[in-house]
Structure formats: C-alpha cells, structure tokens
C-alpha cells in the first residue's frame, strides 16, 4: 500500500516567554496510507492541531522527518511549500474559512487557480464538485448566504479541486449541529469509499472518531 504520509519523531515546542516553553509534540510517529480514513484523537492541548499544521506544511517541526507522497519535506523551503500545499494537500477547517467576498463557486475556483489548473478546467471542475455535493443552486451565493453545513460542503469542494493526495480536516464538524455533522461525515466517508480519497481528521468528537476506519491517539504530545 502506498504511503501518503510518513512522519517519524516529530517534535515541536513553542517558547511562550523566557522560562515558559511549551512542548507541543514530543516525538510523534504517524503513517497514513493511500485510501486511509483516519482520525487523530486526544484531549485538548495534546498537540493535535500542531501535528496537523506540520503535516499540512503550515509549520515546521523542530526535529523529526516527514515524507509526503514519498518526498522528503524536512528541508523544504517556504517557497516550495506553498506549491505542495496547493497540489497535494487539501484543507478543511473547523470554521469553514471561506473567503467572504467570493461566491461559493469563486472560493472553489480560487484553490484551483493556486493549484495551477487552467481557467476553464478549474471552472468546470468547481461546478462538478459543487453539483456532486448538492450545491448546484448555491454556486453564486456568498458564504454569509449559506448555512453552516453548506459552507462546509463548499470547503470540501475547495479541498478536492486539485485532486490532492491527502485531505487534512481539522475538527470539520466542530461548528455544526449533530445532524449536519453526520451529513458531513457521510460525505467524507462516501468520498473515501467511492473516490478513494485519503483523509486524516483531527477531532475530539468520539462520534466522528468512531466513524473513521483508524484512530491515532495522542496524549501529551506523544503517541498513546
């Protein structure tokens, strides 16, 4: 099975003041294979989000090695990181985080632009994805005209447009009610099952964690 993410001994600490150093990650190992549908679980402050940022190339580890799609990311410059982020990694955030001035369609198209898709290609693909997610009547709506569940579906379409190797979801149902949360989880599961998409979901919601095929538990910045 092809490994999408292979992280070994990831450490990360933050210096809050001269004497206060927070060790967020103390040597985490993680493997994500193609087609996985895994959850990272653990209590608040266990380092879930920090790990997510490092795996998503939004932050750098102090120590350890990280491979994505077989490529060593440990010495990746910031200038190259954005290209990998655009093409190989899809993000779904807790607060949806769509650009408020752009319509649903434009939000998805923008990610396609960053991923290097041609003008027609990204427009066509964005429409396809929004259709697939049941938003065909909402393409021209701005985020503030959409419900939480609809916004998160736009965010899913945005994460999918560049056909990334892995989709990182940080508490994707954190701001949704139980019913909508389960709808979103169903969508993610369907994408995993039918389209073979690889997901790594950070959550402290056990219902969400139980809906995943695998669970990776962190406690105090280490694998539990």
């Amino acid at each position: 099975m092809k490994m999408i993410v292979k992280a070994r001994g990831i450490k990360k600490s933050y210096r809050m003041s001269r004497k206060n150093i927070v060790h967020a990650l103390r040597g985490v190992d993680i493997n994500v294979a193609a087609g996985d549908f895994s959850a990272i679980i653990g209590p608040s402050g266990c380092g879930k989000s920090t790990l997510m940022h490092i795996l998503g190339l939004l932050d750098r580890p102090d120590a350890g090695t990280l491979e994505i799609d077989g490529e060593n990311m440990s010495r990746l410059s910031d200038k190259k990181a954005y290209k990998i982020r655009a093409r190989k990694i899809g993000f779904i955030f807790q607060g949806f985080n769509l650009i408020p001035t752009l319509t649903a369609l434009e939000n998805v198209v923008l990610a396609g632009k960053y991923g290097g898709l041609g003008k027609n290609e990204r427009l066509e693909r964005a429409r396809e994805l929004l259709d697939m997610l049941g938003l065909e009547n909402r393409v021209d709506h701005k985020p503030n005209e959409l419900s939480g569940g609809q916004q998160q579906r736009v965010a899913i379409a945005r994460a999918l447009i560049n056909n990334p190797s892995i989709i990182l979801a940080d508490e994707p149902t954190g701001e949704l009610d139980t019913k909508t949360s389960m709808e979103i989880m169903e969508i993610l599961k369907r994408l995993n099952k039918e389209e073979g998409k690889t997901f790594l979901i950070v959550t402290h919601n056990m219902d969400v964690a139980n809906a995943c095929k695998k669970r990776i538990k962190l406690v105090d910045g280490k694998n539990a």
Binding site: H53, G56, L58, D59, D78, K79, Y82, K83, R85, A86, R87, F91, F93, Q94, G95, N97, L98, I99, P100, T101, L102, E106, L110, A111, Y114, G115, R158, N162
Partner: protein, 401 residues
C-alpha cells in the same frame, strides 16, 4: 480584479476617504501642472525670442521693456551698429495699451496688453523669430502706415476686434490690419504698430518726457525703450554683446542671448519647483493615506491571507493582490482628481478667455502622465503593506481562525 473591487467596497467609507485624499492630491497636481505648462510655454516663447537677438535697454529700465524710465538715443544705436559683428540695430518703443488703474487693480497672469512699436523700416531680424502666423489679415511690414495695427489674439478676443475695425488706443484711432494666431506666449497680448505712433504715445504718457520734447530737448527718434541687435553670420553673439557692453556699458544694459537664456531658465526652474513642490506635498499626504488604509485592511484580513496561503497561494500572488488594490485606489483617485482638475482648469480658462488670459494649458500627454503617475503612487504606497501581507506566517494567521 473583481475581488479587488469587492474588497474596496467592503469598507466603503474608508475607501472613499482614501480615494478622496488622492483626489485632492491629483487635483492639485493637475491644476498646478497645467499652470506650470502654460507658464513654461510662455517662458519658452519669450526665451526663443530673447535668445535670437542681443537686447539693449537704457540703464535703469526694465529689461523686458514696459515702463520707460529712460530712453535709448539714436546716436548710441548708430554707434552700436558700427561695432564689428553687428548686423542691424532696430529700435523699439513699448508701453502699456492703457495705464494701470490703481483704483481698479486686478490680478493678471501673463503679460498685460502692451504696445510693441517696431522700426518696420529696419532690416533687423530676430534669429529665432522671424514672422508670426496670422489668424486674420497681415503682419505689419515696411509699407505699413502709422495708423495701422496688428493685434494679438488675446486683445482681439477681449475687445472683439476684426480686420478693418477701428481700435482706439490712448485716444488715437488705429485701423486693425491683422490679428495674430494664438501662440500662448507674449505676442498674444501685443498691439504691433510702427515705432512713430508708439514713440508719440510714450511721450504723451510721461509728463517729464513731454516737457523735454515740447522744449525741443528731446527728439522723437531718441525715444526708444529698447533695441534689438542682430549679429552677422559667423559672428559670436557673446563676443559682440561683450564688445557693446565694453564700449557702451555706462549708458545701456546689454543682455546677451546666452545670459538671457540662463536667466530665464533659472526663473522657470524656481517657478516649476515651487508649483510642482506644493502639488507633490499634497500627493505625499495622499500616499500615506493609502499606506494607512492598506495596513489597516491587511490587519483586518489576516485570517483571509492565512486561508489563502494554506490553500496554496504563493507569497508573490498575495503581494500582487494587495499592491494592485492600492494601485486601483490610486488610479480611481487619480482619474477623479484629474477629471475635476481638468474641469476646474477648463472653467477658469473659459472665463479668462473672454479677456484672453488663459492660465492653464491642458495637454493630453500630461494628463496621461498624471493617470499613470497616480497608479504608480498607489502601487508604491501598496508595496510595503503588501510585502508584510506576503510575509505573514500561515500558522499565526490561522490561529486567528
């Protein structure tokens, strides 16, 4: 591009205030710049004329003619014409078309209407300025009579004169035989006539001269407010001027072409610096208002910048987006400011045109430069905030999520 407008629209009032700041700056720049262009054109016309001859005036008189506080005797002029290298010497008598009225003084841009009495019998020729384009009729020549005048376009417009009309100047009637084409320079405000009537009017305008003339101590041909000296082909104008100065320096002021050119350049440089400097000041204030707006809008949009970077935006595309937004603010302010500036200048010009004294010269190339400049100002103002946006750490901006 659409996103840039939407972002500007998000904070309508703030965008309006910023654009307004640029509008004021560019308005000032357009108006002042058009005024500088007009004055430069006038100055250039004057420069072309004075550098085409050696100008001689009586000691103590203004080098640009006008009020005659002294005269240039014909004897002196004859002697000057004998100096080596001198081709011809032509006398000239000038005075204002009407005496200024101290009870009804008005601010005047450019030249006041001036009588230019030239010795049309002379073979003197200014090297840079031989003839004038005519709107109507003809320029005076050797055959012109003493009661004929050719009128500058500004005076003709002001007094509604046409060829064949009678123009009363200082109580004397003159027949208009020509009206010059617009030059945007001094001659637009001249009345050209033969030197004799000009001399007579000059005497009549000055009680002291009149008493000398009446008592026979002053001859008509000695009443000259200025003279132009042309030099022979191959002669060095500066050497000729130095020679005249050497021999007649006690009686006359000699202005060599080079010296006059330098003097005019210096005056116009100072003038341009004052005009454009004040306009630049207004623009710099506008520039800082864009910087301020962009810094504020970036700190408001930190989260969005974080999202964009997370989903793969390059630092360069972030920087470009904000720089362009600042550029568009500059461009919008520039277009409105320039429009208002042109409108104001046109209104004032139309008003002044009745008196033939336009003070603005609106040149399309200058307007294009103003628009480009306003965009560049915006871009320059946007660079620092944009680079700051591009350098934002993704994780730090994401934490605001």
């Amino acid at each position: 591009m659409i996103e840039i407008f939407r972002n500007m629209w998000r904070r309508k009032f703030r965008t309006f205030l910023t654009i307004f700041g640029i509008v004021i700056g560019i308005f000032a720049f357009t108006v002042m710049g058009s005024m500088a262009l007009k004055l430069n054109k006038m100055i250039d016309g004057g420069k072309k004329y004075v550098t085409g001859q050696i100008s001689i005036s009586p000691k103590g008189a203004s080098s640009f003619g006008g009020a005659a506080t002294g005269t240039l005797p014909i004897d002196t002029m004859n002697k000057i014409s004998e100096i080596e290298g001198v081709d011809h010497v032509a006398a000239m008598a000038s005075l204002l078309v009407s005496d200024p009225d101290p009870d009804n003084a008005e601010m005047n841009f450019g030249n006041p209407p001036t009588i230019y009495g030239a010795d049309n019998q002379s073979d003197f020729k200014n090297r840079n300025w031989e003839t004038m384009d005519m709107r109507e009729g003809k320029m005076l020549d050797k055959n012109s009579k003493d009661d004929e005048v050719t009128v500058g376009i500004n005076i003709a417009t002001d007094k509604k004169l046409h060829v064949g009309d009678i123009f009363n100047i200082r109580g004397r009637d003159f027949k208009v035989v020509g009206i010059t084409e617009k030059t945007m320079t001094g001659p637009d405000d001249y009345v050209f006539m033969n030197i004799t009537p000009a001399r007579e009017m000059l005497i009549a305008s000055n009680p002291f001269m009149k008493s000398l003339y009446d008592s026979g101590k002053l001859k008509l041909e000695d009443v000259n407010s200025m003279a132009g000296v042309s030099w022979k082909d191959g002669a060095d104008s500066e050497k000729v001027a130095a020679e005249i100065k050497d021999k007649f320096g006690k009686d006359v002021t000699v202005m060599s072409p080079v010296k006059m050119g330098e003097m005019i350049d210096k005056a116009s440089a100072t003038f341009n610096a004052i005009i454009l400097g004040s306009a630049m000041l207004a623009l710099i204030v506008g520039l800082f208002s864009i910087v301020n707006t962009m810094v504020m809008s970036i700190s408001e949009r930190t989260k969005e910048i974080g999202i964009k970077k997370a989903i793969g935006a390059s630092p360069r595309s972030i920087a470009f987006e904000y720089t362009m937004e600042a550029g568009v603010i500059g461009l919008a302010g520039g277009a409105i400011g320039m429009g208002l500036g042109v409108l104001a200048a046109t209104i004032v010009n139309n008003k002044m045109a009745e008196k033939g004294a336009e003070i603005f010269l609106i040149e399309p190339s200058f307007l294009v430069a103003v628009i480009v400049f306003s965009f560049v100002i915006g871009v320059v103002a946007g660079i620092i905030p944009a680079v700051r946006a591009a350098k934002l750490k993704v994780v730090e901006s994401i934490r605001e999520l």
